[in-house]
């Protein structure tokens, strides 16, 4: 029961962790200064403390009365995250156009089942589109192919 309640608060808990990290960083690493000459840690400390306070209020309130939340769609999240990651990995190895193709291929798994023909059309369209828009149309100084 408690685990289920905490699961419903994962978003707030994440915010609380972020807020506490900033508060700890401001207190331990940065100078706070004086009211007249505020140091680099003062403003983040104020914002961090406000966020911490609000997280605690939200947690207590929502623990008493559970708030609705959506369940993650891991297939979509995983595919889109993999697509961006693949782009970042392939670009320095093979260049922008192969990276765009690989990115489109990985992202296509986010949208449900696709036939091979549609997936191939999507990848080809993405590569052609990137070439036409970014390299031919806008003439951006991007390396189309690398290592060939």
């Amino acid at each position: 029961m408690l685990i289920q309640k905490l699961k419903a608060q994962a978003g707030t808990l994440l915010l609380l962790v972020i807020a506490l990290t900033f508060v700890a960083g401001a207190l331990t690493v940065l100078e706070l200064g004086t009211p007249r000459r505020m140091g680099p840690g003062a403003f983040p400390l104020i914002a961090g403390l406000i966020l911490t306070g609000l997280c605690v209020v939200t947690l207590f309130r929502d623990l008493r009365m559970p708030a609705a939340y959506q369940v993650a769609d891991w297939r979509s999240v995983g595919s889109v995250a993999a697509a961006v990651a693949v782009f970042a990995i392939v670009t320095p190895l093979l260049g922008v156009l192969p990276a765009a193709g690989a990115c489109a291929f990985a992202a296509s798994f986010a949208v449900g089942s696709l036939s091979h023909a549609r997936r191939a059309a999507l990848v080809t369209g993405a590569v052609l589109g990137v070439w036409l828009i970014f390299l031919v149309g806008l003439r951006l100084p991007l390396e189309a192919f690398r290592g060939f």
């Binding site: 900033f22 369940v71 769609d73 986010a110």
Partner: protein, 502 residues
């Protein structure tokens, strides 16, 4: 004034600026029509492209993208009952019933005309008001600026769809993330964890693309392809009845007035303008019984308000450097990347840019009107693009868009991190839009807070001694209290319903 407008006309009508204004409005409408992608995503996606253009041209193009996307959002609202943008959600209320009654053409034409009317009204307000406000802004002290920004942040929080409390939390998170990087006063690095790429802070485009582009793709990629309105939209079905023309005039004017007012308030944006315009019209209209069933006023008012606000949102953005909406926050980023600092001196230091932009708004609105009526058929076809092509293409575009800014793969990874953060936040009903406002305003707010405290020798009462800042802080407090209390009661009721349903 006439000299300035002549200067603006000369700047806006160069072939290159006219071309990019056209490209901006076209691409904006294109992206805005696609469900789930609004002006924010459109401007974020095209921001990297604008880096390669001169500042005037870049801003003219982005402004075109912005109001093009607003208009595009209305098309999706009317035909699909899926608002392409949050601000066009109000148009769904009467626009979609009109489409179901076979009057989609009339609704689309009136949307285009009302948008044009509201847009031109907003342009006149900017031309008249912005220079005066800029002169007034020169009198403001750091404490006043701090109070204006506080009001902007509070306004962004209270209009958040996820409630005031969550809105404030998102603003605080944005402020914290905005503090990452070198502190300009002391030169100390903050919260970088020793990562050199974070010394200059996190890029605005990286945050925006991650929070809105990547997380949107994660949320919507597997959404079912909606059943589209397949009504054939022909010329003969565009024209409203004679009585409806007359019925639309006063609502268009009222909508433009409301929109122009709310657009100028920092942080509020068009969603508030169109909702309040609609609510007001529902009270004063003689045809209030038809609202929600396809009343033409129900389309005209939110559209004129929305577009007037889209224009006047440029007033605080350009004259105070405070974004009138989340998309305006990106426009500020675009200006700064081009070495132009928005603020009271922008009009005197960059008159060609300011007045050129104002006149280009007029051309952009004209392009929207002239282009969109004949192109309605194309936009309707665009709505039929299957989502399995759309979302992978969006992921590719945003990845390459972020990479092209600095050729930095670190930015691509950071964007992915923000995409995941945005996704988790959305699952738990934290709307990321106020985060972006906090991210932009946070560093500026800190700067003014520190300056004000230095000038007052550390006395915090300085914020209450100056009448301007005292009033603004008072308004912020009242706004917070007024919106937090009733929402809390509603939330408790909603929570009780959730518990009962389990």
């Amino acid at each position: 004034m006439l000299d300035n407008l002549a200067l603006g006309y000369a700047t806006a009508t160069t072939p290159s600026n006219l071309f990019y204004c056209f490209v901006g409005t076209f691409l904006g409408t294109f992206i805005g029509v696609l469900p789930g992608l609004g002006p924010l995503a459109a401007v974020a996606m095209l921001l990297p492209v604008s880096f390669y253009l001169p500042p005037e041209t870049a801003l003219v193009m982005l402004a075109g993208v912005y109001y093009g996307a607003e208009y595009g959002g209305s098309i999706a609202s009317i035909l699909l009952n899926i608002p392409g943008t949050p601000s066009s959600s109000i148009t769904c209320i009467d626009g979609y019933p009109m489409a179901r009654q076979g009057r989609a053409g009339v609704a689309l034409l009136m949307t285009a005309l009302a948008s044009f009317f509201g847009g031109v009204f907003g342009i006149l307000v900017i031309a008249g008001l912005a220079p005066a406000l800029a002169e007034f802004a020169l009198l403001l002290q750091p404490a006043d600026y701090f109070a204006v920004m506080l009001l902007g942040l509070v306004a962004a929080s209270v209009v958040s769809n996820s409630g005031t409390l969550r809105g404030v939390m998102m603003v605080c998170l944005g402020v914290l993330l905005g503090s990452i990087g070198v502190d300009i006063n002391s030169g100390e690095t903050r919260f970088t964890g020793g990562v050199q790429d974070l010394r200059d802070g996190i890029g605005l485009v990286v945050v925006a693309m991650g929070l809105f582009g990547v997380s949107e793709a994660m949320m919507s990629a597997r959404g079912a392809t909606p059943s589209y309105a397949t009504e054939k939209v022909s010329w003969s079905r565009f024209l409203p009845e004679t009585g409806e023309w007359l019925r639309s005039l006063a609502p268009a004017l009222r909508g433009s007035l409301v929109g122009s007012f709310f657009g100028t308030l920092p942080g509020t944006g068009q969603t508030v303008a169109s909702s309040i315009g609609y609510a007001l019209e529902k009270r004063v209209s003689r045809n209030r019984d038809q609202f929600g069933k396809g009343a033409i006023e129900g389309v005209v008012v939110p559209e004129s308000a929305n577009n007037a606000a889209a224009q006047t949102a440029f007033i605080p953005t350009l004259t105070l450097g405070i974004p009138g909406s989340t998309t305006m926050a990106l426009m500020i980023g675009a200006l700064m990347i081009h070495g132009v600092t928005p603020g009271p001196r922008l009009i005197s230091e960059h008159p060609a840019l300011f007045w050129g932009l104002i006149v280009s708004f007029l051309f952009g609105n004209l392009f929207l009107l002239v282009l969109n009526i004949p192109l309605i058929g194309i936009w309707v076809k665009l709505l039929q693009i299957p989502h399995y092509f759309l979302y992978p293409a969006v992921v590719v575009l945003i990845s390459i868009g972020v990479y092209s800014i600095d050729h930095s793969l670190f930015d691509v990874w950071t964007m992915l991190g923000f995409g995941l953060l945005g996704y988790i936040l959305r699952l738990y009903r934290f709307e990321p839009a106020p985060l972006l406002i906090g991210f932009i305003l946070g560093p500026m707010m800190e700067e003014y807070l520190r300056r004000a405290m230095l000038l007052s020798r550390g006395d915090p009462l300085v914020f209450f001694e100056r009448p301007g800042s005292a009033i603004l802080i008072g308004i912020s407090a009242v706004l917070l209290v007024l919106t937090a209390l009733p929402r809390r009661r509603r939330k408790v009721q909603a929570n009780e319903e959730v518990v009962e349903s389990r």
